[in-house]
Amino acid sequence: VARDREPKEDSATKRRLEAIAATIGAALTLLTLGVIVWDGVTAPESPPYITVEARGVHQQAGGFVLEVVAINRGGRTAAQVEVQGILRRDGEAIAESTTTFDHVPRGSQARGGLFFARDPREFELELRALGYSDP
């Protein structure tokens, strides 16, 4: 009975909803493609350029942790980025610690920490990226 009553109206509602969903889908697809292409076109063709900055020091039982962030301003993503921190006094290296970041995508940053037995704030701190591999 219901089949004969309003089948046209119902299928028209469905059609309209499908058209809306398809439009949203097309818009999302175009947005994704747009961002990806824009990302590809604007990326500079330069190797990873990684700087390491200190973010903060926390005292822990038995030592200190220095929070660091590796920032990649280059044109390519770097994998296996090894970061080294050296504490110096009058140019002489007192302590050294390293960590490895799996990935530092271009235009992005990765966070980590270096452990030291002594307080890094009492020394000259040298932070640098030692190397990377292409992902």
């Binding site: 292409v37 590809g40 992005s108 992902p135």
Partner: protein
């Protein structure tokens, strides 16, 4: 009454929501192994942007074809198949974005390129899942003779084999294991894997019963089926494997011999996908 006579009598909006719900279910079920694969997240920012953009563009005709041969519902026009393809892409996008956010793989401090890269590579399997599963969750009686007719064309069979090969190969291609297996294999292993792939493919072709094969006389029938479906299917599986490897940047800086090994390795899951596509779609 509503139960007995099925979906035709439900209000249009409810019917539509049910369809979208099925699509989301399919997107998540088909895509979650890849959503939970580490290499896939990394591809979001390491993959060549050109390869990724091409990959998403290739998905569109693939979804269109899947809609034509199965789809959300019985489609009557080319426009409806195109509409279904875009709905599936939208569902794939939203499902991927939600799941990646839920897993903490998308955060605000990422660049738009990384966020959309991650979603873009995941929305491919998710949208295939959306379009295939909505068909699977349908009641069987909804399948029309028209659909059956379409699928029985040789071109239709080849298309479905290609789609199945792509989906299954894509599910394992991102992992490093593909490379490791290729490096470990000797020439003898590779040849054996080719034979096993073709045998498996033929076994499925023979069991599932592809179009036209049963009408042939016995002896000629075997060789025709073997050439027309099994060997053609394996060829498609190899081409799809090579394309997927290229998409993921696995073909760069690789010697020819290793490349062939990798294609053969990926050709195995691709063959299984080609052989079983007909069972799923």
């Amino acid at each position: 009454m509503a139960e007995t006579s099925g979906r035709a009598e439900r209000p249009g909006s409810l019917d539509f929501l049910t369809g979208i719900g099925r699509a989301f279910g399919g997107a998540v079920i088909f895509a979650f192994p890849l959503l939970m694969t580490m290499e896939m997240w990394h591809f979001g920012f390491t993959m060549s942007r050109a390869h990724l953009a091409i990959f998403i563009c290739v998905t569109l005709p693939l979804l269109f074809g899947l809609s034509y041969y199965s789809g959300f519902e019985k489609t009557e026009s080319v426009g409806e198949d195109a509409e279904d393809a875009f709905v599936a892409l939208g569902v794939g996008f939203v499902a991927s974005a939600l799941m990646l956010t839920l897993f903490g793989m998308i955060t605000w401090d990422m660049t738009p390129g990384e966020i959309f890269g991650k979603i873009g590579v995941q929305m491919v399997p998710a949208s295939i899942g959306a379009i295939v599963a909505s068909k699977q969750f349908h009641s069987r009686d909804a399948e029309s003779d028209d659909d059956e007719e379409r699928r029985r064309s040789y071109l239709g069979e080849l298309f479905l084999m290609g789609a199945g090969a792509l989906f299954v190969a894509f599910n394992v291609a991102p992992t490093d294991e593909m490379l490791v297996i290729a490096f470990k294999m000797t020439t003898a292993h590779a040849l054996a894997l080719v034979a096993v792939s073709i045998l498996a493919l033929h076994g499925f072709v023979y069991t599932v019963g592809f179009a036209g094969q049963e009408e042939r006389p016995d002896y000629a029938g075997f060789w025709l089926t073997f050439l027309h479906f099994t060997i053609a299917g394996y060829g498609i599986a190899l081409i799809v494997s090579l394309y997927v490897l290229w998409t993921f940047g696995r073909t760069a800086d690789i010697g020819e011999a290793e490349l062939v090994s990798m294609v053969v390795v990926l050709g195995f899951p691709a063959s299984l996908g080609a052989a079983t596509a007909r069972l799923i779609v």
